[in-house]
Amino acid sequence: MIKVEGITKSFKVAKRSTGLLQATKALFYREHTIVEALKDITFSIEPGEIVGYIGPNGAGKSTTIKIMSGILVPDGGKCSIMGFTPWKNRVEYVKNIGVVFGQRSQLWWDVPVIDSFELLKDIYYVPQQEYKSTLDLLIETLDLQDIINSPVRQLSLGQRMRCEIAASLIHNPQILFLDEPTIGLDAVSKIAVRQFIKAINQEKGVTVVLTTHDMNDIEALANRVILIGKGSLLYDGKLEELRKRFGTHKTITADYRKNSNSIDIPGTSIIHWSPEHAVLSIDTEQILTSDVITQLSKKVDLLDVTIESQPIEDIIVQLYKEFQI
């Protein structure tokens, strides 16, 4: 479906200088630095996948999305999406994709949402019949009935994002690029958006590539993540793998009958301790979780034990550190 091979892209960025003298100089002459936004990025995505594309700010996520959606032309490398090269045949290619930029609207601000949909129908040459059935489905699954006749400027951010996603699907694209679709949304809207993305992926087989900073999005949606940092591809694989490889810490919280003995166990460290309650951090490379519990139960009368994996956010932060990005 999507094949990206050795994509590179660099930007010329003007050096910012401080001071009046420097600023005046910059009016006439500017020094430029070349920033390599993408270095040799290669991956491929199968039809029907949901892929989370993650990385810190400035890693090159948006640049990749822009190249894949045909907005930008890369300096080198190949890219084939559904048989098209996105930056050639732009007009033919973009009929097959939907793009949502979370921070920008594609709807007409002052008119009812439905008017924007109608115009998009004409822009994408969608036949009336098909438009109607798609629209009905979108209204139903995204619960748009009550808001579709309000002007966009009167909608809340969550309502607007639902409309944005609907707008990008009016022409039944086979691939959907979502650039930060849940940015700034409240918890309820986030869940609604996630559920919908999952639904169209399962029901219509739409391939989804999404970038996000919210790891819950990834956890809820993507079984595969691609991690990039400073323009290089760092990890491509299953989320669980990532967790196995890097999430080697677990937290055990134990309640027990009053006991003031020490509960030192090799391979663990005590985060919190009181005569009735303790929180331990364990390194699963040194000791198995079950062993810790066995040893713990020998030392104290356990009442309750909970085991928590490291939150995915922590793993990502750790990864960023490891790769020094």
């Binding site: 959606s69 907005i71 032309v73 732009r90 009929k95 793009v99 007409w108 601000w109 008119v111 994408y124």
Partner: protein
């Protein structure tokens, strides 16, 4: 083309959300060229004629160029305000839709308030025409139509050139106003009242002369020699938009390779 009208419709609906501001702006737009025209009127009141041009003849010249200007500002405003599209990043959106960038940018904005200016110019046009002893023929009427239409194309071409610059500079360039506003101010008088070099620039570089001065001579029966040549000049002027269109395409390509 139908899509263009759909863009027009949706933007008209948007505009109608702000009725008061629409009416105030339209009235304002009526009076801006009105004051310019008043100046013209008093000029002729004092001097009678300029280089053999009577008041109503110049008024016709004025009306043609102002009509073209207001129409182009109304319908090609998307290029005039293109820098905002670049700054807000909305041009990316244009690129992911399966239509030409030209049509989409054109459809991104209409300035309906120019209706005021349009009305004022139309009144001047009618007033001038009813007071001029022109022997009308179909050819002359068609020529008049082409004068206005080509004028619109030339102004649109200049907007496009200015918009293309935004791909490199991001910000809009006031420089273009020299040619639009400046060109309009110059071309509202017959070109032969100026120095030769000024007349030449506005004939061969930015061909405003071809849409009013030259064909106007034909309509007013002032030509010496080949009438058909004068009659066809508006069509020649309208060719101006072709290089503008090509430059625009180069700009789009530049944007897509730099992404700035």
């Amino acid at each position: 083309m139908t899509l263009y009208f759909k863009y027009l419709l949706i933007l008209f609906k948007s505009q109608m959300q702000y009725r008061t501001s629409f009416w105030l702006l339209s009235i304002g737009q009526f009076f801006i060229p009105f004051s310019v025209f008043a100046g013209l009127y008093f000029l002729f009141e004092r001097f009678g004629q300029i280089k053999g041009w009577e008041f109503f003849e110049v008024a016709l010249c004025f009306a043609v160029i102002h009509l073209a200007f207001s129409l182009s500002e109304c319908f090609a405003r998307g290029f005039d305000t293109f820098s905002s599209l670049i700054i807000k990043g909305d041009f990316d959106r244009v690129l992911v839709r399966p239509r030409s960038t030209f049509l989409q940018v054109l459809g991104s904005k209409f300035e309906f308030t120019r209706i005021g200016r349009l009305l004022q110019s139309s009144i001047v046009l009618i007033w001038a025409l009813t007071n001029l002893p022109i022997e009308w023929s179909l050819v002359k009427a068609v020529t008049l139509f082409f004068m206005i239409a080509s004028g619109v194309l030339i102004f649109t071409g200049i907007y496009m050139l200015a918009a293309t610059m935004c791909f490199w500079t991001v910000q809009g360039l006031e420089v273009a106003n020299i040619f639009t506003d400046g060109g309009r101010e110059m071309a509202q008088y017959p070109l032969n009242i100026y120095q030769k070099w000024v007349a030449r620039i506005f004939t061969y570089v930015i061909p405003f002369g071809t849409v009013n001065y030259l064909p106007l001579m034909f309509i007013l029966g002032k030509t010496q020699g080949d009438e058909i040549l004068y009659m066809l000049t508006p069509l020649a002027g309208s060719l101006f938009i072709i290089p503008c269109f090509l430059v625009w395409q180069i700009g789009v390509r530049h944007y897509r390779s730099t992404g700035s």
